[in-house]
Subunit: 261 residues, 3 copies
């Protein structure tokens, strides 16, 4: 990651990532996650490995109560059934009422017109962070996902954008971070991206600067992925090794392995 | 585990746990489980590793038929959506009509007033075993989870209570077992507790004394967790190692490793 | 596998399986899967390990759009809730309109009269492949699952039947393949069969002869299972090892290890 011509901040970000991880391990925060069916178990396991306490209910009768007792909210639009559709707006409203950070992950928004419409309504509710890949960004923004377009989108919507890919780009419209950590095996495990989004929410619960929190979380995920890939024989053992790596990674590992470009 | 001043029974319980596990491996029983979305796959895998045959449908049109052909039923109140809410009372009614043992796991009942109301209605349906943690017990009972309060609750509701924590407490109101087996990594894998509940149901299907069946199941789970923790590098590899351990654990391992306090 | 007295074709099938796997790895195909809750993550992970791109939404508002952009469709009748029931017929209609291959997996159809009725309606929609076990076949066909009965059923319904068990039988009513690969640990991991079904769909998307595609897929699954079993200590490590094996298996491994009887 690099701030625009501000290499001093790169060093600060490495330290911050380790501090946030240590802080989460020391004082677990509750994170409520409305996410797709394939991501639920992995997301919960990722949060537990990082020291947080997940809850996952998608029922409109219950999700607001679970959100209200949490420190942050994740809204992931995958497997968007009737219960999820009904509970998402009330959970977002609860997060806003309680001044909680919340993160939007518009999974596969390019594949379904209905989902795109709902994603835009969610975006109008001012998420703290929008986490998406290139195809999802293009569908939402109606523009190619170049750095300028992403920064412009972030400014226009008042949101931190965390655009993930071979190199992650995080921006609040003014500052930009580029993170080159990670491993290709992460794309061969379902819901790795969705699960990783939950760490953005957990870090945003600990640190008010959402741009820094998002970048620190992606740094932590990417480095854990690299540690895991070195031990794995394929995507099956990678998933277990990733949770182990996130559980065991030390702040000094993050400082050492960060690749901010 | 210790019966109150009856150390002879401790030895019997160790033997019973091994016998029930051997019996389940020899003659698989069907267990129907209505559980939360994050627990479904792990629960099914735990039952398969132990030798049972799981089914998981939550549809109100189908869950009673699946329950009727099973040897026991598990009701877990996590991710309590409309389908689950509709199918739970009919499935409980089926279990009662067929005289099947059933186990109630009131997950996160302290977090949602609606769920607490439903949990109390479920409790009025006389589960064979109530499996809960301290926070869930407190919400249900309106009392601190001390041994006397738990025994009193068990007598009042005519239910075996299996209160899990660093030391598990199992009681039918008259007899009490305390089980110190287990490992802290079990709390870092989502739905380990929920999945473990299903073994209580499977053992209750084999053994009419639900107090003994519940204690034997928690002993088996805890010892499998210890065996797994010795092989794991973190929560990711722990989950796989736990299923392996449960699949491979011998009755003699249970006799040897049981810590009844 | 053996064609009836046509051992030449056995050799061709081994080669075909490797070619289809190589083709899928080179040009990923999208596969849409409506499947049961316990199978969703493993199915997605199996497809990703094989080189395909899964999507899993069960919402009737979205599943047809996801199907329309896919190369094949899987319909699995497990955990058949209201959303799944509503989305299945429209997704099948989309597959037919787009001339996509689709595979029906009538899980536990023997356990629920409602599910049996729906499975027969699905079958009337002319799936490309019906994948089932012996109990499911018996319920659907009202007959014992002997080779003649299966061939007769395949001819009558104009469907390739892939009947899985200790030895898999694949037939289009004229040709028959028998595959003896696999390992008993595969039956101790929930949804291994359901997840494997998705590879039949992926191969059918690449290869117009659905009989050959189905047999090649079961061969690939069975051999990956054997490779995994040699590394696993039980069902927990088996699941991860299986995904690794499928990710790493070479066409030459398939040629070498195929057991066509």
């Amino acid at each position: 990651m690099s701030y625009e011509s501000a290499s001093r901040n790169d060093a600060e970000l490495r330290v911050l990532a380790g501090n946030l991880l240590a802080g989460l391990r020391q004082t677990p925060r509750r994170i409520h996650v409305i996410t797709n069916a394939a991501a639920q178990a992995l997301t919960a396991n990722l949060l537990l490995a990082a020291g947080a306490v997940p809850s996952l209910t998608v029922s409109p009768d219950e999700a607001p109560a679970f959100t209200a007792r949490s420190a942050a909210l994740v809204i992931n639009l995958g497997t968007l059934d009737a219960e999820r559709r009904a509970s998402i707006p009330w959970s977002i409203a609860t997060a806003r009422q309680q001044h909680l950070p919340w993160v939007l992950d518009p999974v596969f928004v390019e594949a379904s017109p209905q989902r795109l419409t709902l994603a835009r309504l969610c975006l109008a509710g001012k998420p703290t962070v929008l986490r998406c890949n290139a195809a999802e960004f293009s569908a939402l923004a109606g523009a190619e996902p170049g750095p300028d377009a992403v920064r412009s989108f972030a400014r226009e919507h008042g949101v931190v954008v965390a655009l993930t890919g071979p190199t992650d780009l995080v921006t609040d419209g003014l500052r930009t971070a580029m993170i080159a950590n990670g491993d290709a095996l992460m794309t061969r495990v379902t819901a790795m991206g969705c699960a990783g989004t939950s760490l953005l929410a957990a870090f945003a619960a600990l640190h008010a600067d959402a741009f820094e929190a998002a970048a620190a979380a992606l740094l932590t995920i990417g480095i854990s992925g690299e540690i895991a890939a070195a031990k794995a024989d394929g995507p099956g053992t990678f998933q277990a090794a990733f949770l182990d790596a996130l559980y065991n990674v030390r702040p000094s590992d993050i400082i050492e392995h960060a690749r901010l470009t």
